[in-house]
Amino acid sequence: MDGSIIADDPSALVDDRIDQGVFRVDRSVYTDEDIFGQEVQNIFEKCWIFLCHESQVANHGDYFWTEIGRQPVFVHRQEDDSLKCFINACSHRAAILTPFRRGNAKTLTCRFHGWSYKCSGACIGIKNEEPDTDRSHFDLREIASLDTYGGFVFGSLSADVPSLDDWLGEAKPWIDLMVAQSPGGLEVVPGSSTYAVDGNWKFQAENSVDGYHVSTVHRVFAHTIAMRESKGEYTGIKKTEAGRMAGGVPTGSYDLGNGHMAVWAQHTTPEVRPIWEAKERLEKELTPGQVEWILSKGRNLYIFPNVMLMDNPSTQIRVMKPHSANQVDISVYCVAPKGESDTARAGRLRKFEDFYLTAGMATSDDVAALEDTQEGSLATGAKWNEFSRGIGSIISGPDAAASQLGFSPTACAENWDFEIHYHGFYRQWLKMLKGD
């Protein structure tokens, strides 16, 4: 034994004894750099990773630079409208090929020594080329797997992944609920925000589907909005459902399998949500269950390991890029139905800005809380984080709400205060960490 937690026994990090009412996670999973290194290698470099939304690379030559684990990659829209994704490093001496995070270039020329590449990845130019050079030897390296679902683009450095359809599994009906909101699909609205969190990426994963914190951390948001509404000052900002914040509305949480998790809470005033204007069309095109879920249930979906899709106060893509055990960057985008009215779009954006940014009045409080949990996790003198709430009332298979929509969760709880959905997350995490 070399004293490293990983070498000793990773299984000991998750105390999974639900038959005895116990589910706990060792706090070192949030702070240990050896564990983080294993996560990068065995999870982020082996999994399907969310890369971008296809509206962010709409036209031939559009590129989007992001990371898989710590490796820079870029998605590039091809001449035939397909997508390819390459390692974002010049084949010569590794300089990043895209000058911007997002841009358009039908040919990419390295700014270091001037090597150039076609959209297809073919190396087409080497400055002062020597005789008999085989340029094809220097074509860009495509990542092993790339696919899209509902306009969401995923890639993997590994060829040994299930099909994206199989991987997303029971998360798909949740994605469909967003995509179905416009016949033309979704688009990312111009503008975004990236914030650096001094905390482990798993705290962000947990927080995104943590109904239990809402009535404490976001109590002040609810009070602030109630104060605003009492003055009658909407000026176009739609009412927020204060009931959801305070508790007391129907809620639910799901372990969707493969580490995916989701929670929902009933909207008390669905008629003020931007999507309400599409009610009639939705009722014609979708099942009654889907319509009910779209209009009346605020939903947070976490797709293992790096992306969250929120349709709650507003509609959001939240992407995680972990840099170390103690640090993760989060980028947030407002995603919206193409073709919605300006009124709906403006309402959606104002709610987004109110709630979902570190310059807003809720996400800033979330980040402060999870940075506190990071610091607290150094307290290995008391080493367990508890995920036992709701163990006594786990529902295996679909509950009534899941049946209404038609998906089959691994486990449910008819209360988003419960923590049973994290069990699936940590089981998937442990399985991949161990390389099983």
Binding site: P190, L349, V367, E371
Partner: protein
């Protein structure tokens, strides 16, 4: 220095002083009731968003009530990100009157903001675009657009950080 230049400079100095000294009610009173407070987000590395209605902003408050929301949240002592409250020092410079039209004045300024909080010290910068209006003889802020030059944001960003 012209009287107007002096008056505008004093107003902008006063605003940052009131923010740093946490005199929230006096700070809000510098704004007209219909004042717009706008912090665009970055659309890419070089440009911010420019249509506040239909694009994403970091903050876009369309009347003084939006500022009152912020102060309510700070004063509630119930906001995780605002307890303990970060300390701030704003240093305003480059104040220039850009345009004057009757009771309406446009001005620009730069600001370096030093913040101290849980993350230690952070020094950041903002470009200010003001629209000012004289009401009952007193110059007030009717629009403040803040171009916050940081993109990857560290810590919470509230009205006193900008």
């Amino acid at each position: 220095m012209s009287d107007l230049q002096q008056e505008v400079t004093n107003l902008i100095y006063r605003e940052s002083t009131l923010l740093d000294r946490r005199e929230w009610d006096d700070w809000i009173s510098l704004y007209t009731e219909d004042a717009v407070y706008w912090v665009p987000s970055w659309a890419n590395e070089e440009e911010t968003t420019d249509d506040p209605e239909l694009q994403l902003n970091l903050i876009y408050l369309r009347n003084r009530g939006g500022l009152e929301d912020r102060v309510f949240r700070i004063e509630s002592r119930d906001s995780y990100a605002s307890v303990p409250l970060d300390r701030t020092v704003h240093v305003v410079g480059n104040v220039l009157v850009q345009n004057e039209n009757g009771d309406e004045v446009e001005a620009t300024a730069n600001c370096i903001i030093h913040t101290y909080g849980k993350k230690g010290g952070l020094t950041r910068g903002s470009l200010y675009d003001f629209k000012l209006r004289r009401e009952d003889g007193v110059l007030k802020i009717t629009q403040k657009k803040i171009t916050f030059i940081d993109d990857r944001l560290e810590g919470p960003i509230d009205v006193y950080h900008l």
